[in-house]
């Protein structure tokens, strides 16, 4: 049973890989992780807004036409448009200062591509965590669903909840990096503290978490209407709300120390 834990600094954060592959050698598994990290770095080169010469930065400055950019740019912008529609406008990559900004979606999209590299290579169980956005494949080592702790927005070491996750979970909020989200609609009232979305695609979950982080309860209702997607919101006052499909993991009394 080959097994690996790897961390990769990329996209301004750290991506953690946890993967198991009974049918692969350690060397094969390591090679697949190397290929997956190369893909993440490649996507970062394409989409980084911190790199002035990235295709996306040049596109925003009008120095590069969409048809001349790597094909991934058009693909991601199409996904942004779809996410905008599905979120009923609460996620809007085209209403950002400085031009189109797919930042709220592209990390989730890239992590899914990286996971696909591992799965194609034969990995049967994996979790990729890109700075707090998580995508899972197969069954975790302990069996059952993946159990993902949602960080408490005001405490570094505390969890607000533990959720059972089948595939993808993304959380958005302004407690880590300060006020950086743009509300494309303009809601009255304080920003939510933390917005978590689960679902079958990390690309969409990532965008929807951004949407709920600015849209609060209104955006939560939108997520509730989407098949397979659920949201867990911690409001500015610390009160909470969750859609029907959110599965809170109840602590096992025997698991206590």
């Amino acid at each position: 049973m080959a097994s690996i834990v790897h961390t990769e600094e990329v996209m301004g954060t750290v991506v953690s890989f946890h993967a198991d592959a009974p049918g692969m050698t350690e060397a094969e598994l390591a090679a697949s992780v190397t290929a997956a990290t190369a893909l993440l770095h490649g996507d970062d080169e394409t989409f980084s807004l911190w790199k002035p010469e990235s295709p996306l930065s040049r596109l925003r400055r009008g120095e590069l036409r969409l048809e001349d950019a790597p094909a991934e740019v058009a693909e991601v912008l199409d996904l942004c448009e779809a996410a905008g529609t599905l979120s009923q406008g609460w996620f809007n990559a085209f209403a950002m200062p400085g031009g189109v900004d797919p930042t709220g979606l592209v990390k989730g999209w890239s992590l899914e591509r990286a996971l696909a590299v591992l799965v194609d290579a034969g990995v049967t169980s994996a979790m990729l965590n890109g700075g707090g956005d998580v995508v899972c494949h197969g069954t975790p080592p302990q069996g059952g669903p993946w159990l993902i702790g949602v960080r408490h927005p005001w405490r570094l070491d505390a969890l607000a909840a533990v959720l059972e996750v089948e595939r993808a979970i993304a959380t958005s909020g302004e407690y880590e990096r300060g006020r950086h989200l743009v509300d494309p609609i303009g809601r009255i009232g304080p920003r939510p503290a933390s917005a978590t979305v689960t679902g079958p695609s990390l690309t969409l979950a990532d965008a929807l978490a951004t949407a709920v982080a600015v849209g609060g309860d209104d955006a939560l209702e939108v997520v509730a209407s989407l098949d397979g997607y659920d949201a867990y919101l911690i409001r500015a006052d610390g009160s909470e709300a969750a859609t029907e499909g959110i599965r809170f993991s109840v602590a096992d009394p025997d698991g206590r120390d």
Binding site: V5, T7, E9, G12, T13, V14, S16, H18, M127, N129, G132, D133, V134, P140, P141, Q142, W146, L147, I148, G149, V150, R151, H152, P153, W154, R155, L156, D157, A158, L159, A160, A161, V162, I169, T171, S172, G173, E174, Y175, E176, R177, E221, R235, D237, G238, S239, E240, A241, A242, T243, E244, F248, S249, V250, A251, D252, P253, G255, R256, D257
Partner: protein, 181 residues
């Protein structure tokens, strides 16, 4: 001004309401944070808890200060001996110490085999005035005992995107360290 500091602080245990998960409720508030009557502690009954009285957030600064002023060996940290013997499979890893406005802290995760058995902060030096301030925030916070119970078996952590630097003191970082060979 103080709000910014709260965002990065891992403060002290023992003063907080416990989340009461309403598993059946659809989109119902899971906890009324503003009332201070945190009675829905169905996940919080922890018989062995040393701070089991679960006081309202606003009246518990005394219990919080007692655990905050303690050094690394605070009452809840029975696994403080870090380098657990391989025979029991008990190991713990300490994240980097993080300096914040009111002191410094580090997150420590303890595992038994592949199971997280404890998450806590050590090296926490918190000004008394700080715990007063945070105690006045009417916020549902978890007690460490509940946190430890909930953290067992967790495979990963979701949260707002951290920077590469912030990763170093994240729970995910401590977990990654433990599972790396």
């Amino acid at each position: 001004m103080k709000r910014a500091a709260i965002a990065v602080v891992a403060a002290v245990g023992g003063f907080a309401g416990v989340l009461g998960f309403n598993l059946g409720g659809s989109r119902a508030p899971l906890l009324q944070g503003a009332t201070g009557s945190n009675t829905g502690s169905n996940t919080g009954t922890n018989p062995g808890s040393s701070t089991g009285s679960n006081p309202p957030a606003t009246s518990s600064s005394s219990s919080s200060s007692s655990s905050s002023s303690g050094s690394p060996s605070s009452p809840g940290s029975t696994t403080a001996s870090g380098s657990g013997t391989p025979a029991t499979g008990l190991r713990s890893a300490l994240g980097n110490t993080y300096q914040y406005g009111y002191g410094q802290l580090a997150v420590r995760v303890t595992v038994n085999g592949s199971t997280i058995t404890k998450v806590d902060t050590v090296g926490l030096q918190t000004a008394e005035s700080y715990s007063q301030q945070i105690a006045q925030q009417v916020i549902p916070l978890l007690r460490h005992e509940v946190l430890a119970a909930q953290s067992a078996r967790v495979n990963g952590f979701s949260g707002a995107t951290y920077t590469s630097e912030a990763y170093l003191y994240s729970l995910q970082s401590a977990l990654d360290k433990l599972h790396k060979k």
